[in-house]
Point group: C2
Chain length 322, copies 2
Amino acid sequence: MTNITLRQLRAFLAVARARSFTRAASELNLTQSALTMAIRGLEEEVGLRLLDRSTRAVAPTAHGERFMVTAERLLDEMQRAVDDLRAIADRQSGLVVMAATASFIGPVIAPALRDVAERFPGIAVRLIEEHTEGAARRLLAGELDFAVTTLPSPEPGIEAIPLMRDRFGLLCPDDHPLARAGKSLGWGVLADFPLVGMSQLNGMRRLLDQDRDGAQAVRGLRYEVSSMTTLRSLVESGVGVGAVPALAARPSGGSGLAWRELVPAVHRTASLARRAGRSLTPAAAEVVLAALAQLRQLRDPGIELLTDRASLIRQGWLSHRG
Amino acid sequence: MTNITLRQLRAFLAVARARSFTRAASELNLTQSALTMAIRGLEEEVGLRLLDRSTRAVAPTAHGERFMVTAERLLDEMQRAVDDLRAIADRQSGLVVMAATASFIGPVIAPALRDVAERFPGIAVRLIEEHTEGAARRLLAGELDFAVTTLPSPEPGIEAIPLMRDRFGLLCPDDHPLARAGKSLGWGVLADFPLVGMSQLNGMRRLLDQDRDGAQAVRGLRYEVSSMTTLRSLVESGVGVGAVPALAARPSGGSGLAWRELVPAVHRTASLARRAGRSLTPAAAEVVLAALAQLRQLRDPGIELLTDRASLIRQGWLSHRG
DNA sequence: TGTTGGTCATAAGCCGATCTTATGAATGGC
DNA sequence: GCCATTCATAAGATCGGCTTATGACCAACA
């Protein structure tokens, strides 16, 4: 086992290049004495004279000259490797692989990514639109840095922290009678109209299924669709109405759609999830922060933020730096 | 500038591979605590988490995993470079480039090289038969590790140490009248026979030219040749006699040739020479030592050893090791 | 030829980095 | 919930490396 240090390599190169201990010392901000000892240590370690020196001249030996090339390359590679890591740490580069449920991507993730791209042009993102189960599977497989999902129950091997919750409300055309009914709406009103809802594969659908009040929004469902975009289209064209979370309803006003709270409140909680014990990369942390900022900007009565930067730091999702 | 140490790299690799600080610590004969600190230092230096760790599990992060490859390669290259140097230091490999005058090669250098080859099969030698001036030029050009020459005067830029000296004597056929003349021979006897001698390009010829007694061996030279082999052939076939140094006469008895001292003694001194300030490689030192041993074995009355191992060490030609 | 200025080598003491010991905090298994 | 195990942290000890001071050597110059 070698006990050679990079310090010795640097000392050797400096002396060999400067052809002088004294000059090399001043370049390295050391004393000549320190270099003498460093070179001695190096030569003892390899058992070979690398620098021929007298009080009048210093020059690398033939072996020393060959070793210079090696030492140079070694230090160079080391520097490059460290620089790469530092670039990632400084978020000048990096790849974020993440998954999010569709309803988050439009109003939250997309603008967050635009934001991140502006400040850190070197960060690349792979965004996977994925429902809860798929995200969980990918997390466990180690494919993702993190995911934004409506994780129902904490799975082993996955660590999650509540991010926000929004309540379900009625989505209807903005010229629909219920759109401007004076009083607050109860879940019972849904019984009077043809209902549009998500298929059973969907996370929010299952929330409704399991809720006593929410179940009224899926009983006798007339149209069952697989994406929120489709649901919105159907509602907008007056085919029916549906119960959707506040976030999924956005944008509502001005888009031909109206959203009204339903009481009693039924919530859906979205979480930040990662594989247990896996830390966020600096780039991923930046995306999470930007998403948080987007959520804060929404200022929607139906949407409630459940965490903040400090809390994320406290629970080990973010570091203090940056 | 990175301040990362190879120690940290080794610590990182050990922990990442063992997936445990404790196990890695016992492998490296350190405490778990030391590794914790080493890893912390490394991570601070690059600004990036490289190992995700809890009290129950340790695993490299994605970046850590990539860095493992780099760190492995770096340490490996370092090890290889050092091993190469050590092989040279141990004389398991190495190339010696040397020059010697022809008269040395046969009786001294050749058997010395056979000897070295036996003990250090990895050492390669490039041996150049070269007269004094040529050797000096090559030394100054840095082409040679060392040379064995009859250096007349110390040149600047060349460092020389006397190796041995031999005296001139009469070379004649072994059935020649002078071969068994009772008394010692004076230089005057040469006047009575046709003389064979080296050309003026040769070092020993010039020694004779410049010596009052020796000059009698070149005055009225009948045959002027350019190599000792030729000279010996001519003398052996009875064409004439000549004055040659003891070493150049060997082997004399049993080869059809006889060699008799001439008085007063005229000496030729052979030196070990190298470029000033240039140290011998371990392999070259081995050759020098072997040559010295050969010279010692000659035990020829006309040959006088002028140095020894201790003296070479004292004057910086050899190191103590080995 | 003695002096002088500059160079690398060496020694001693200091200081900081690193290691060890001891302890704390977290977590999975029972 | 308790226990065993693991990593983290703190404090003291130890070791290596740095600086300062000095020596030895050598070339250049008077």
